[in-house]
Amino acid sequence: MSSVTASTVPSTAPLSQSGDSRNNNTRWIGRLAIYGLLTIFAILYLMPLFVMLVTSFKTMDEIQGGNMLALPQAPTFDPWIKAWGETCVGLTCAGIKGYFWNSIKMVVPAVAISTILGALNGYILTKWRFPGHTLVFGLMLFACFIPFQSVLLPMATILGSLGRFGVTLQNATGFNFGFGNSTVNLVFVHVVYGLGFTTLFFRNFYEAFPTELVRAAQVDGASFFQIFRRIMLPNSLPIIVVTVIYQFTNIWNDFLFASAYAGTGDSMPMTVALNNVVNTSTGVVEYNVNMAAAMIAAVPTLIVYILAGRYFVRGLMAGAVKG
């Protein structure tokens, strides 16, 4: 192949090059502009992170004394070490490392359940329409807007009753069904209030999904769920990524529900812990530790972003249908 290229190109080189180079020039300028813009935006977006990062490597003296944007004079890792393993979350001074697991135990099921339900709902609302589907969707959509402040108390009441019911049930059957467990409660709450969004994402994505594929699968004998699992899901990667990013971030960072329903040490999620590190009413604020803690707390989310980002694939539906 290379030999062929080598032999054919010179014969036509002069003309084609003149033509090419002009186009290449404009293309080059275009590419340069794109990369330039992206770099500028990246820098702008990174600016606050820069402040945080710089601060997290400074000593408190330096923070109080110097410019916020200045590089640390005497960089120190202590704030990070402290945030990870020493800083106090309430009366327990073992850093924030212990709270990851609490959050993960809650976030993973909540994200998984709400994503799958959202995908199923979107699938039904676009490919298995029934009279009134628009109304159902509209209602679920409008649900996104309910202020969480106003659901906090009634939800607590219901969760409390469920918890007492769970105790009764456990006493009667000797089996723990998970009622009243604060992690289970949080999963439930996040699924309930995430459904509107996940449904929205998937419905709007499936809206453009060729119905012919569903039909073909039906003819192939696939059932409702088989079509969903084998045809819909594998072709929804980008929207799954978006949904997971959204849900993971929101649930991971949720403070209101987490503090109200799971404030105690054994199930305290990451955000409540972080909040307890960062916020202080009348005490001394250790900004460097706070910044480090915040960045550590964000690592799982960042990992999700990076991992999930690989599934932002192009051309998923290419070649499926003609039309």
Binding site: G90, L91, A156, G160, G263, N276, S281, G283
Partner: protein, 396 residues
Amino acid sequence: ADVKEVQMLHWWTSGGEAAALNVLKQDLSKEGFAWKDVPVAGGGGDAAMTALKAMVAAGTYPTASQMLGYTVLDYAQAGVMGDLTETAKKEGWDKSVPAALQKFSVYDGKWVAAPVNVHSVNWLWINKAVMDKIGGTQPKTFDDLIALLDKAKAAGVIPLALGGQNWQEATMFDSIVLSTGGPEFYKKAFNDLDEESLKSDTMKKSFDNLATIIKYVDPNFSGRDWNLATAMVIKGDALVQVMGDWAKGEFVAAKKTPDKDFLCYRFPGTEGSVVYNSDMFGMFNVPDDRKAAQVALATATLSKSFQSAFNVVKGSVPARTDVPDTDFDACGKKGIADLKAANEGGTLFGSLAQGYGAPPAIANAYKDVVSKFVHGQIKSSDEAVKQLVQAIDDAR
């Protein structure tokens, strides 16, 4: 929940406070009670109160919760608080705890909360080096203070360090009102919410004084956290801060010593009076089998040893007047003496800004008005007084 366990909701999560609470935790563990921490920091207890409300709604009461002033009474009224009267009798709280505090820890004749400390807010915090440089002396009147601030200004130092958040502004205003109108006036206006006093000329004068003093603040004060304002004084960028005694913690943390590096004076014209707020541990109506743990917690909280140990760290003064001041620094000693004097002299007043003068609806309405005045939405003291009366009336 385990019966040998104390579930404690609080927002004391940062260094000193947490360390102080740890003393309590250890005291309890000596008696065989485990400590189950429910810390919810943020917003000066707002987040914790929200969580508490949810817990109460769910019917899963903690053993106790850190609470402020009128909140205790609200919860008591809702019938969710426990009864510690027996313990109180045994321990003699009625006598040792100032009556002003009992107003909030006793509801309907029953002890429902254990006060932990008393903060007072009418303090001036001054950088001694700067003070020496400009040759200032302790201001005795409001005008003295203004003169002092002028001196600082002339010397090129920021005269007054202030954080432009409504509670900081209102906290300073508490002191100004007390200074301008005197103890009687303060009580009538800010504790009894007497409308005549609220719209009186004295109140207008107070606002005018606020307007005067605010001129000595640097232009960037808006939104600044209180501890950053304190830091300005510590570093000598600013001369003085008007702030509650928790500010001392910042000085101590910066390894400064009272009288040597910094000075603590009562706000001029408020000598002999104490505008206070107090942290309380509200005790919930837990099932009988958890009562023992609750009693142990209450007893330990009001024990002299804990009161001393805790307040030394916290910067506040003990909630009972019979605690020796040996472990306290100069400012602490002064605070204890002042509290005792004010308690006996009837000049111990709840801070309106801190939620001890009136219920939260009113306290917050008050903060709104002060803050709007400071930031120029309300342009005159006449208008401010009108707004204040209206806002308080609305919130009643």
